[in-house]
Symmetry: C2
Subunit: 403 residues, 2 copies
């Protein structure tokens, strides 16, 4: 078997944890498998490097930022190879250039294009554990790139696809994917399996134990993933295409408090108003999530949308700048104490009534719905932040997810 | 003009110093020059990385060690490019792989073989300051290598040679090359110029402000160097081939306390004894410096030699292991409180009597000579460590070096 194993920054944050990971990889190696290990930078190392850069130049170019950040994973893979060597198992560390991991040139948010496998296969044939830097690539001019936060998951999936690996294991600090965040819903249950699409919805809802792009890539190349803990031996959750898996109506409830609702009131009701509004926001890199357009009243209408807390400031400033000249609205209001609660399940495509059941649960516990948004396999409501735990628990109960 | 400027770790140890270096490079850039900057790792960063590695695996492979260490310079060049950018001057950082700096595969002590200049020329033509990692290379399999401590000087000289640079400036924390260590001989005077050969002798004697191999490479490719301070604007010392330069009898006095004398007494006086002795030491990577073989007395002879303090332990252990079986000597004695004092000067090739004058100076101040060694342009004596300052000052006076 060829196994790709990915460990995040907390799993390699210090000497003890590095050896813990090394031993876990060596078990697979000594059982006769070929082992490829993908690592992130140690602990808070990426943040340390970001702070160093910020101190020198708060507007540092992304090209130089990636040049700086890629030292983080190079440090962890070298130390890991040293740890494995000291345990008597030959290992070799490789970075994005040595592998070669070709990517686009979108510094800080590059996409992997092609991975050369020759060097990796050669090292595996020499019975070495191959320890590879996650999160990084090189563009066609040999500049380093990074894949964005959490990009090491994507590296692992891309490697599993390129190497036709038999298994791709993503190690995190949780046991797997749960029906809800156990800190919010104590009865939450670990799922044995989940589909790519469900995982994608959960990831984008902030319940993500996996980087979104990594799940998309796994789906595209049919790479079956296992999400499991680096701290224990529990089975974890399998992420795969929906085949023989029991099709659950709802597989989980996700909550996300990192939400700000912005309402633009009194807009003219004519073509191009929504376009202008969201064009301004897009020009300032504000990522808009749930959108609600009100019914017209007196020739005017309101538009509400949600953004993350990080984007809120920029969104508000952008609206202020264009309020009079371009948007011609009466006023904007900002509500910070809101949160999203979602149910996700591949089964709801063929079973109507999921939304109604969810709304019933919310009604039962007296939670008011501010906004609704849906996809084929997801229903999301925006509620007051103080109700988020009650709402999640009520929905979890209503769908009997603890069973 | 194309100028290569090299700054060591202390010159980029913190934000303030990074900006100091950036400004200095920008002055040359704004005067219309093409500027290539070579940097070492920040401050004690290399030591920090070495300690991390040691903690994980005290016998880490040199290949992985170099993988780890090369992150140090990559960090400093990225931060430097960010600093220059923030001062409004476009800069780009490049590491050994991006340049490509081809080297041998002797990890931790590689030799540069060939430098690709295309990328550097392209960036210079785009009017960028090019900031390059010193100390590192890549072997033919794309593994990172390092050039050994002080190797950034070599990188700078090799770049100056490959780019046909008009100037190669090595910035250190001293003003240039002195007739003696000013802490030992207060009257020591800064030299305006010195030949490659003199600099080589001084470097190997521990008075080195320049890495030995960098001087050899400068000599080989005829790269004229300037050694000057990154802390002030003083002129510095030019290192070049001896051409029109006034040929000084003696250009400097060097002292070195990092010396241990080892004597092997009562060896048989027959062919192969010295060979065996030094073969054993070479097999254990002990670098032997001054060697003295005594005149035979009663069919026996003694051999004394010096090593650095770092090598002393290994040398003593090696001799102990082979004392009875192979070497058949009576005993070995170790003297730790000794030091070397040397005079160096290209002029002494054509002027006899330098050694005699030096010995006279030592006699005048009552310093006993334990051992003597000479080259064409150098005379070295081994003395008791406590006399080293007196000896250096007396010799400095005797040759009137302060003038």
């Amino acid at each position: 078997m060829l196994i790709v194993k990915k460990f995040g920054g907390t799993s390699v944050a210090n000497k003890e944890r590095i050896f813990n990971v090394a031993k876990r990889c060596i078990e697979d190696y000594q059982a006769g498998n070929q082992v490829v290990v993908v690592l992130s930078a140690m602990g808070k190392q990426t943040d340390v490097l970001l702070d160093m850069a910020k101190d020198i130049n708060p507007k540092a170019s992304r090209r130089e930022m990636d040049m700086l950040l890629t030292t983080g994973e190079q440090t962890s893979v070298a130390l890991m190879a040293m740890a494995m060597d000291s345990l008597g198992v030959p290992a070799v560390s490789l970075n994005a250039f040595q592998v070669a991991m070709h990517s686009t040139a979108d510094y800080s948010n590059a996409k992997l294009k092609r991975i050369d496998t020759e060097r990796i296969y050669n090292e595996l044939e020499n019975r070495k554990i191959v320890v590879i830097t996650g999160f990084q690539g090189i563009d066609k001019y040999d500049n380093y790139t990074t894949l964005g936060r959490g990009g090491s998951d994507t590296t692992a999936v891309a490697l599993a696809a390129a190497l036709h690996a038999d298994a791709c294991e993503i190690y995190t600090d949780v046991d797997g994917v749960y029906t809800a965040d156990p800190r919010v819903v104590p009865k939450a249950r670990k799922l044995e399996a989940i589909t790519y699409d469900e995982m994608l919805e959960l990831a984008s809802l902030g319940a993500g134990v996996l980087h979104n792009r990594s799940v998309e890539m796994a789906k595209k190349y049919g790479v079956q993933l296992v999400v499991r803990s680096s701290l224990n031996r529990n089975e974890g959750t399998i992420v795969k295409e929906d085949t023989k898996m029991e099709k659950m109506l709802v597989s989980g409830v996700a909550t996300d408090k990192n939400v700000v609702q912005i309402s633009v009131e009194g807009l003219e009701n004519k073509p191009g108003v929504a376009f202008k509004l969201f064009q301004h926001l897009a020009n300032h890199n504000v990522n808009v999530d749930m959108i609600l357009q009100s019914v017209e009243h007196g020739g005017k209408q309101d538009i509400s949308f949600t953004v993350t807390e990080e984007d809120a400031e920029e969104a508000i400033n952008t609206l202020d700048r264009h309020k009079e000249s371009s948007l011609k609205c009466d006023k904007t209001t900002v509500t910070r104490d809101v949160a999203k609660v979602s149910v996700v399940g591949a089964g709801m495509m063929t079973h109507p009534g999921v939304a109604a059941k969810m709304f019933e649960a919310l009604y039962d516990c007296g939670v008011n719905i501010r906004q609704i948004s849906t996809s084929e396999i997801r229903v999301t409501v925006l509620v007051d932040e103080k109700y988020v735990e009650d709402a999640a628990e009520a929905i979890h109960d209503k769908f009997s997810l603890e069973k």
